[in-house]
């Protein structure tokens, strides 16, 4: 049993009167690839947003490598509106901004690609290294940080090379094929030097061949970069192929979890999701 990297504990996310996630608890352990699946609107990206600090949860806590990084409980207007469970269990408010969470070693990609369109492929990755800089704005402006700049540029080139993007390095990312853009998103996330990588629908819009390539790609980066991967996906071939464990979400609540084989044969999952359309 490897050590725990990510732990979501009793996470409830409520927007006004709408409960998007209800009492979600899950674990991701070191070196695993864990998938989060479920019909559209089940609350998967919301879960990612809670882990990465985009939303502060209405209730619950998140732990990273055993340390608590997020905690919240219903207060103010939400006290009356709160419709979830485990009220009173959490007493602190820890609400870091996303950049702080990334600095800890959690990186993510987005469902809709969010590359920086005016910048080249090279710069998109280089900018993602900015958070690891020790130079302040003065030393950067007056080029006193030449050494650090050189190292980061070399690392960027190296990363692009490993991921097969080096030839595109001077292109504007808007002129790239879709599959390459997706790979660039992942490269950018990797540039922040994470230990946990959150992939939000990495195979969205891909054909079966591209999905196949992506499967080997994810496996490769998991071992090369010694990552733990937490993934949201709809492409069931990819999910079943690559995942060590799967969590299934429906209407904001966990309805099943386990290995791919277990989940595939779980009647609750089949009726809610898999039974209808395999490639939803």
């Amino acid at each position: 049993m490897s050590e725990n990297v990510l732990k979501m504990q009793n996470i409830t996310m409520q927007f006004g009167g709408v409960v998007a996630i209800n009492n979600l608890s899950l674990d991701v352990n070191k070196g695993e690839i864990v998938s989060l699946i479920g019909p559209n609107g089940a609350g998967k990206t919301t879960a990612f947003n809670v882990v990465t600090g985009v939303y502060a949860p209405t209730n619950g806590a998140v732990y990273f490598n055993g340390t608590e990084i997020v905690e919240n409980y219903p207060y103010g207007k939400m006290k009356k509106l709160y419709a979830g469970s485990d009220n009173g269990k959490f007493t602190k408010r820890i609400e870091p901004t996303p950049d702080k969470i990334t600095k800890l070693g959690i990186a993510r990609t987005f469902q809709n690609i969010r590359l920086w369109k005016s910048q080249s492929v090279f710069n998109n990755v280089l900018i993602a290294k900015h958070l690891r800089r020790s130079s302040n704005v003065f030393s950067a402006t007056f080029r006193l940080n030449a050494k650090e700049e050189k190292i980061q540029r070399e690392e960027t080139a190296h990363l692009l090379n490993i991921l097969g993007l080096y030839d595109f390095r001077d292109e504007l990312c808007t002129s790239l094929p879709y599959g390459i853009q997706r790979r660039l998103e992942i490269a950018r996330a990797l540039a922040t030097e994470p230990t946990l990588l959150l992939l939000d629908e990495p195979a969205a819009g891909m054909n079966p061949q591209e999905t196949n390539d992506l499967t080997s790609f994810i496996n490769k980066i998991r071992s090369d970069f010694r990552l733990t991967v937490f993934m949201i996906e709809h492409h069931m071939d990819l999910v079943m192929d690559i995942s060590d464990r799967i969590y299934v979400l429906n209407f904001g609540a966990l309805i099943a979890s386990g290995t791919p084989a277990e989940v595939q044969s779980n009647p609750a999952v089949i009726s809610a999701y898999l039974g209808e359309d395999k490639n939803a």
Binding site: T97, D99, F110, R114, W116, H130, T156, L172
Partner: protein, 372 residues
């Protein structure tokens, strides 16, 4: 565009830019010797240099970081007043501050110290209002910064603090520089620093915030810190340009730093191209030249062709405003778009002049995909 990986050698474009700048200085020196002091050319050059600096500082904030701020006039005001207040010779203070018993401040600072202080005070105010104001969405940020500038303008005319600011009276008799080279030198150095910043890792972080701040934050860039950084630096240079403006005008008064001044700077930035430093510089000089010099004939009533007296004072500004509207509506990218000057681009421009109306494919794509 950076395509070197390990180091950035001084490339051909930089060499050419440097040579052109050196030539520029030589030309200026010659002009100073040849033309009379009061020539309108010098007015245009000096004022152009001042507005170039403040336009570039505004571009840093609006064009490169994507923060729509309309507070520039307020920071110029702070800079101008700081410079004047701290450099009026002690002997002259009783004259200048005639209604305030000579004023509170009875010492002077050396000119260059006062100039830097002008920038620092402007930056200081930016720092203070930065944190709350920069959280606002773009339209609200524009109005909040506009409001700040207006409050400053009202504050500096308040006679209760007239012992420092001289209330609604002019500030004058402070040391000024007469040579055009001075304005170009100061402006030039400041703009060079801004360019260095834009091409550094922090400049790239600013552009990431502009392009997609959600992604920037997800990649570890602290939005509040970086936005405030951009705001403070932009205001610092706006303050310095205010000090330069004070020197150029030899007298200053808070009432002149209206929001109209900020609008003019904004229009200069837009005409030059949001996101292009060379664009802001070029368009500054064009704007000042047109408004102060070239279109003057449009105001001259003696040149009337019809009996309707179309040409009279004010016509120039109308024509001017129409031209600006045309650029805003039809030529939104401005003169330089988001590109900087490079020799290759210039040559390509002349070569492709016949088919100029076609936008390159990837720019077209970027144009329609843009959104906030």
């Amino acid at each position: 565009m950076e395509n070197q990986i390990t180091k950035k050698p001084i490339n051909k474009d930089m060499m050419i830019s440097f040579t052109l700048l050196a030539l520029l200085f030589v030309v200026l020196v010659i002009l100073e010797l040849v033309l009379p002091r009061t020539s309108i050319l010098f007015t245009v050059l000096k004022k152009g240099a001042i507005y170039a600096l403040v336009a570039v500082s505004m571009n840093l904030l609006n064009g490169f970081t994507g923060l729509f701020s309309l507070g520039q006039a307020g920071f110029m005001l702070l800079g101008a007043y700081t410079y004047a207040i701290f450099t009026i010779p002690v002997a002259a203070r009783s004259q200048v501050y005639q209604y305030f018993n000579g004023g509170l401040i009875q010492f002077t600072l050396p000119v260059f110290v006062a100039m830097i202080l002008a920038g620092l005070i402007a930056a200081g105010f930016a720092f203070l209002i930065g944190l709350p104001v920069l959280k606002l969405k773009s339209d609200y940020l524009a109005i909040a910064t506009l409001g700040f500038a207006e409050i400053m303008r009202a504050l500096f005319q308040w006679d209760k603090i007239g012992v420092i600011t001289n209330g609604s009276n002019l500030l004058r008799k402070y040391p000024v520089f007469k040579t055009t080279i001075f304005y170009f030198a100061v402006s030039g150095i400041c703009i060079a620093i801004i360019v260095l910043l834009i091409n550094s890792t922090y400049g790239r972080a600013f552009k990431a915030i502009r392009d997609d701040e959600v992604a920037a934050e997800a990649m570890g860039i602290n939005l509040a810190h970086h936005k405030r950084l951009s705001f403070v630096i932009s205001s610092f240079f706006a303050g310095i340009s205010g000090a330069l403006l004070a020197m150029f005008q030899t007298t200053i008064q808070a009432s002149q730093f209206k929001s109209a001044m900020t609008y003019e700077i904004l229009l200069i930035v837009v005409i030059g191209g949001i996101g292009s430093v060379t664009g802001s510089c070029i368009s500054s000089f064009l704007f000042i030249a047109c408004s102060e010099w070239w279109l003057r004939f449009l105001d001259n009533a003696n040149l009337n062709i019809t009996s309707l007296q179309i040409l009279r004072p004010g016509f120039r500004k109308v024509v001017f405003s129409v031209v600006i509207m045309m650029i805003v509506l039809f030529y939104q990218k401005g003169i330089m778009g988001d590109k900087e000057f490079n020799l290759g681009g210039l040559i390509k421009f002349f070569k492709t002049l016949p088919s100029q109306h076609k936008l390159p494919a990837h720019l077209k794509l970027a144009k329609t995909k843009e959104g906030k």
